[in-house]
Symmetry: C2
Subunit: 378 residues, 2 copies
C-alpha cells in the first residue's frame, strides 16, 4: 500500500453533518468546503490572490481543458499546475470524463475508454483511466478523480447497472495506473444513477477499497432536489465515516446546505462564477438579476450584509450599468461577490457544526433557501 | 469672469519640457500625466482601487457613451460620475464629438451641431456645444472639453480653415453655455489640421481667450510622428506657458516622450488598455505579442523591471496560456501591466524634469523607443 498523502479529521458533528479538516500536500482544507472552478487553470477573472481574499482554500481545475491547452506535459515541465497558476493551496482535478462524455456525436465509448475529437483543435484523442491518471499526476494536483462513465439522464436500470460496473472496472485501472500516490490522492466516484439500491451497492463496493476519499457523482443532471438528496443520503450512510465525501458539481446554496446535513464535506460548482459573469448574483435577500431595470437608480449595495469589494465600494446602479454594457469589471465584481457569498456560507456552516449549534444551522438553511430563490420585488 | 476651479503650477523645466501640478476640484495631478481611458465610467477590467495601485491620478471618461448609457441625468441624480464609478480623483471628459463624427453615414453636420443615430439604441440625437457642456457639467467632472469639429484626414487647406473657424464659434457657444464654471473647468482645443500656419493662428486665437487649459486636437489620425510633432511644437510654442497643455489621444510611449519634450503636460490613449485586452504588452524590452508561441514555456516574468501583479506573480508561459484561451484574467493582468508601465513612464519623466536631469531624460527617451517597437527575438 502506497503512502497516504491525504487524511481527514472530523472536529465536530451535528446530526449527520460534519465539520473537519482535510490534510493535503499543499495545505489543510477546513470542511465543509466549496471549491471555485478554475477550468483552464484560472477562475475566470480572478487572480490567485483574489481566491485567498474571498476565502477559498482549495480550487478545482479541469483535466480535459488543460490536456488540450496548454498540455499537461508542458505544465509538468514548468513545475506543475500550482506553480503555473500561482496558487499555493490544494488543487483537485476532475478526470476529464464529464467533458468527453458531453461531446455527443464526437465520441465513441468502448471498454478501453473514450475516443473523441476535440472541438478546440479538431484533433482525435483517446481518454482512458490510465491517460486520465497520467495527466492528473503530471499536473501534480493534490487530488485526482477516478475516470468514470457519465451516463445520460434518465437511464434505465439495466443500462445504469452496466455503466456502474464499468466505472468500477475503470476505477481499478486508475488505481493500477498510479505512479505518484505519495503526492496525488485518488478519489473514487459512487455512481448508480437514480436507483437507491444500485447507489447503496456501489457505495459498499467502493468502501471496501479503502480509497483516499469518495465522491458522489452523476447528480445535478436534471433530477429534482428531492431525488438528488435521496441519492446523497443513500451513499453517505454507507461510505466510511472517516473519509472525506465530495458531491460533484453541486450547486445552489440550498442544495449545498441540504447535502451538508446529509454528511457531505466537499463541493464544486460553476454556478457562482458563471452566474456572476452573466449578471446573476446570490445575496442575503435572494438571487438577483443585475440587468433588471429596477436597479437603475438604486444606490444601495448589492448585498448589505456582504463585505466584498463589489458590495462595499459600488452601488447596484453602477453594477447594473456595467452588467448592461457587458463590461469586464462587472463580470469581475459579480464573480468576486458570488465567490465571497459562497465561501461565507461554508464558513457559517463550519462554525455552526463545530459549535453543535442546531439553531444556527437552521438559520443558515433558511438563508440558503432565500438566497437560492429569485428576489421578491413586491 | 467665473471663479477658476483649475490652476497649474510649473515646478521644474528642462528645455521645453515641464513638470508641474494641475490643481483640480478632486485633487492634484502631477504632470506630465497619462489618463487611463474609462469609456463607460470604467477602465475595462480595473476597479478604482486598481487605478490607484497602478499610479493613475486622473481618468478620462467619454461623454457620448455615458449620455447613451446610463444617461447623464441619472448619473447627476445619483451624485455625479465620481460617486457613480467610485473614483475620488479628478476626471476629464471628452466632448462626445469624436464619437459622433466617426459615425459616418449616420450623422448630419450643420452649424447647429451634429445630428446622428446611436448604434446602441437606434435613437436619433443631436449633439451641440450646448448639449455637450450640459452633459459634462451634469456628470460633475473636473474638466470638460469644448465641442469641436473633428475633420477627416487628410483635408485640404480651405476645408481645414472652415472647420477650424467653426470649432472656434462652437468654443464660444460652449463658454456661453457653462453653468458650473466653479466646479468644472473648460478646455479649448487647438485645431488647424496639418497646416502649421493654421495651427499657429488657432493657438493664438485661443490663447487670447484665457481658457482654463488647452488641448491640441485632431492629431494621431494617420499622419506620421514627424508631422504630428511639428503640429505639437507649433501649438505649444504659442500657447500660454502657465496653462496646462493636453495632447488628445496620444499615444505610444515614444510619442508621449516626444510630446513632453515639446511642452505637453497631459495625455490620454486607449492603447495600454486596448492592447492589453488583445494580448499586446509594453515592456522594457519591447512591445510583445503574448499570443506568440515563443512564450509557451517561458518561466520568466513578462517584464523583469516591473513590479505589477502580472510581472511579480505570473510567468510569460501562464500569461500566454490565458491570452491564447481569451481568458478574462489575461485581459485583466495585461491591462494592469500596461497601465503600470505607462504610469511609471510618466513618473520617470516627472522625476527627470523636476531634477533637470537631461541624461535621465535621454535614457527615458531611448527606453520609450524600445518599448514602442516590437521585441527583437534574435
Amino acid at each position: 500500500m502506497a503512502t497516504r498523502c491525504c487524511s481527514f479529521n472530523i472536529i465536530g458533528e451535528l446530526g449527520n453533518a460534519r465539520a473537519g479538516v482535510l490534510h493535503l500536500p499543499h495545505g489543510d482544507v477546513p470542511t465543509p468546503a466549496f471549491m471555485p472552478v478554475g477550468t483552464r487553470g484560472t477562475v475566470r477573472g480572478l487572480t490567485s490572490g483574489d481566491l485567498v481574499t474571498v476565502g477559498a482554500s482549495m480550487v478545482l481545475s479541469n483535466t480535459y481543458h488543460l490536456w488540450v491547452r496548454p498540455g499537461h506535459e508542458l505544465i509538468r515541465d514548468l513545475g506543475g499546475l500550482h506553480r503555473f497558476m500561482a496558487w499555493d493551496g490544494p488543487i483537485l482535478t476532475d478526470s476529464g470524463g464529464y467533458q468527453v462524455f458531453s461531446m455527443r456525436h464526437r465520441n465513441k465509448v468502448t471498454e478501453e475508454g473514450v475516443r473523441f475529437r476535440s472541438p478546440e483543435d479538431g484533433i482525435y484523442r483517446m481518454l482512458t483511466p490510465e491517460v486520465s491518471v497520467e495527466i492528473q499526476e503530471a499536473l501534480g494536483v493534490d487530488i485526482a478523480m477516478a475516470f468514470d462513465e457519465c451516463i445520460e439522464w434518465p437511464a434505465d436500470e439495466v443500462r445504469t447497472q452496466k455503466s456502474t460496473a464499468r466505472t468500477t472496472r475503470w476505477l481499478h485501472r486508475c488505481l493500477q495506473a498510479r505512479r505518484h500516490a505519495d503526492t496525488t490522492a485518488l478519489f473514487g466516484i459512487v455512481q448508480g444513477g437514480m436507483y437507491p439500491d444500485q447507489r447503496a451497492a456501489h457505495a459498499e463496493e467502493l468502501s471496501a477499497l479503502d480509497l483516499d476519499g469518495y465522491a458522489v457523482g452523476g447528480l445535478s443532471v436534471g433530477e429534482g432536489q428531492h431525488e438528488m438528496m435521496e441519492m446523497v443520503s443513500v451513499s453517505t450512510q454507507i461510505l466510511p465515516k472517516h473519509k472525506v465525501r465530495y458531491l460533484m458539481g453541486v450547486g445552489h446554496p440550498k442544495d449545498i446546505v441540504q447535502a451538508v446535513l446529509r454528511g457531505v464535506d466537499l463541493f464544486d460548482c460553476v454556478l457562482p462564477s458563471r452566474a456572476g459573469r452573466h449578471g446573476t448574483t446570490y445575496t442575503s435577500v435572494g438571487r438577483i438579476n443585475m440587468k433588471s431595470a429596477i436597479h437603475k437608480a438604486d444606490t444601495s449595495p448589492l448585498d448589505p450584509s456582504c463585505d466584498c469589494e463589489a458590495c462595499t465600494k459600488y452601488t447596484r446602479a453602477y453594477l447594473r450599468h456595467l452588467t448592461k454594457c457587458d463590461e469586464l469589471l462587472g463580470k469581475r465584481l459579480l464573480t468576486l461577490h458570488n465567490m465571497t457569498f459562497y465561501q461565507r456560507l461554508m464558513s457559517d456552516l463550519r462554525d455552526a457544526i463545530s459549535r453543535s449549534d442546531g439553531d444556527a444551522l437552521t438559520r443558515i438553511q433558511q438563508r440558503a433557501e432565500i438566497s437560492s430563490a429569485v428576489q421578491k420585488t413586491r
